[in-house]
């Protein structure tokens, strides 16, 4: 990259301008990646944290907790299958009021006290010690709800007593509150009866949380027991707005990659056209097409890597300021690195069209290139 490096040094203003555009695209990409990760976390972090491999839903409910109901015999039958551990899992969205009257939106997750879900999600906290005792995730605690407080569900009036705090977990952008499954049933099916559980709702749950060992024919089990069994990752799509949000963010980020490729391609096309006399001179002096191409591509790679790294660093710095606020935003090193690599590759791909012209320059132009 003998000439490429010296061109960068000599025409630094032009390359700085070009690099600034790429750096700004990188900043935007990092911020959108952080927003995307934040939205994903806000959408399904509560589900992702569950110590399960699969979930069983009522058929034709699209892995949506609010549409699915399973009865106790079905869940028990799932648990009796070889290689499968099953527990009831309830999930319902509620509006609630804290002790100070603060309104909070919660995703009430009903789990079996002492079961594998409770052991993993709420650890040493005593879920089920008191009938109305619940464990709130940090998101609810951040809204001013503390241990010992009472949270009242609107409409049903069911009161929840906060007995512990669990790590941050959200589902459908609502902070998760873990409750014994019996309390969840009372809150969910007793909404129109003032918190009194109708006899028909005994033993019901939204879904079954499954721990499945390898080698189990889940589709056969599902058909036999009349349930839809999906992997945990597949169930993410059931979170309200999850698919639309991730698709929208992915589309915007993909557009940024395309923009980067076009901008870099356009810049280096003009740059290559401006350099035609120089390239002709190089080939007239005996430089092979390979050498000239390597020089040009090395120059593009240096600009792309430098500008993208700078943009990613600036974006991460801005993201650090945003993180932790009201905007769902999460910086993840692997996501940022992946985005930066894709951006660099997109830029290189865009420049290939321009750099390819290098090989087509005829050395004969050096003879007519009087300065």
């Amino acid at each position: 990259m003998f000439v490429g490096l010296r061109d960068l040094r000599h025409a630094w203003g032009r390359f700085a301008l070009m690099g600034s555009v790429i750096a700004l695209v990188a900043v935007l990409t990092v911020l959108l990646t952080g927003l995307s990760t934040g939205l994903v976390n806000s959408g399904i972090s509560g589900l992702r944290a569950m110590p399960i491999t699969d979930l069983a839903f009522q058929p034709k409910t699209n892995s949506t907790f609010s549409q699915s109901t399973l009865d106790a015999p079905t869940i028990a039958a799932l648990g009796r299958q070889p290689g499968i551990d099953a527990e009831p899992l309830g999930l319902t969205f509620f509006n609630a009021q804290g002790a100070t009257g603060t309104a909070v939106s919660i995703a009430l997750v009903g789990i079996e006290p002492g079961g594998f879900m409770a052991n993993s999600l709420v650890g040493g906290s005593h879920l089920g010690g008191t009938p109305a005792g619940v464990i709130v995730s940090r998101g609810v605690a951040a809204d001013g709800v503390h241990v010992g407080d009472r949270v009242t569900l609107t409409r049903s009036g069911v009161a929840l007593h906060v007995v512990g705090i669990a790590p941050t977990a959200t589902y459908g952008h609502a902070a998760v509150v873990y409750a014994p499954i019996s309390l969840w049933r009372q809150a969910t099916y007793g909404q129109v009866t003032g918190g009194v559980l109708p006899p028909s709702a005994q033993g019901l749950a939204s879904a079954a949380a499954l721990q499945v060992r390898s080698g189990v024919n889940l589709s056969g089990v599902g058909k036999r027991l009349g349930v839809d069994i999906v992997t945990k990752q597949h169930a993410y799509a059931g979170s309200p707005g999850y698919s639309a949000e991730t698709a929208t963010m992915s589309l915007i980020i993909d557009f940024l990659y395309v923009i980067a490729a076009l901008v870099v391609g356009a810049f280096f096309t003009v740059w290559t056209i401006q350099r035609q006399a120089d390239i002709g001179l190089l080939t007239a002096l005996g430089a092979s097409n390979g050498l000239v191409l390597r020089d040009a591509l090395g120059q593009v790679a240096l600009v792309m890597v430098g500008a993208t790294a700078t943009g990613a660093l600036v974006g991460s710095g801005v993201g650090t300021l945003i993180q932790g606020g009201t905007v769902p935003f999460a910086l993840q090193a692997d996501a940022i690195v992946t985005a930066a690599v894709i951006l660099t590759v997109a830029g290189l791909a865009g420049s290939l069209v321009a750099v390819r012209r290098v090989a087509a320059v005829d050395p004969i132009i050096a003879l007519g290139a009087a300065s």
Binding site: F2, V3, R6, D7, R9, H10, A11, A277, D278, L281, L282, T283, A284, L285, G286, A287, S288, N289, L291, D362, P363, I364, A366, L367, G368, A369, A370, S371
Partner: protein
């Protein structure tokens, strides 16, 4: 050193392009330094342009981003020559053309005559068998033009190489060892007295 004179369009530059392995002849055969270029593949012609011939272009044709020293080192880089040896040789050649003190200057910081001196030194970097010179004085005043052609003659003899210089200036052609004229693509007796 042979000077080729002729009117515009007489075929002087075409002859240089063919002799410099930049263009294949439409007919006939071409031999440079005892090597046939007639049917040479593109990759071989590329090597020959570096190893066999040295070009001195109109208006010097230097790269704006490189210093005088780097213009010469570039030739060594193309030929994958060792860096230290390339630098020594480049400095020696710049000394030969009187520019040792201006080795770190870029083309924009050199006069027209100095740029052409750098061009001549660059053409000698790969120890060519043949120096092909295309209108080397087109952008210079008469005195500087005489100086440049004089330098070319001097370097030709010093390096014991064959130099073919194309020029439209018959007074400068007279400084060469031999003068031939090109008319309509064919060599004709020179219309200027040979030295």
């Amino acid at each position: 050193m042979v000077a080729v004179v002729g009117a515009s369009g007489s075929g002087k530059s075409s002859m240089l392009a063919v002799a410099g392995a930049m263009r294949q002849p439409d007919s006939g055969r071409i031999h440079v330094g005892g090597i046939s270029l007639t049917d040479a593949a593109a990759s071989k012609r590329c090597h020959l342009r570096h190893d066999l011939v040295g070009f001195v272009f109109q208006g010097s044709n230097l790269l704006a981003s490189l210093t005088a020293l780097e213009q010469l080192e570039l030739v060594g880089r193309i030929g994958r020559a060792p860096r230290a040896a390339t630098r020594r040789k480049a400095l020696a050649l710049l000394g030969e053309v009187g520019l040792a003190a201006k080795a770190e200057r870029r083309p924009g910081q050199l006069s027209g005559g100095e740029r052409q001196r750098v061009g001549i030194a660059r053409a000698l970097m790969a120890d060519p068998a043949v120096l092909l010179v295309d209108e080397p004085t087109s952008a210079l005043d008469h005195q500087r033009a005489i100086d440049i052609v004089g330098l070319l003659v001097e370097e030709t003899h010093r390096h014991q190489i064959a130099t073919l210089m194309v020029t439209h200036d018959r007074s400068l052609a007279g400084l060469a060892d031999r003068v031939i004229e090109m008319r309509d693509g064919r060599l004709a007796p020179a219309a200027v007295p040979e030295r």
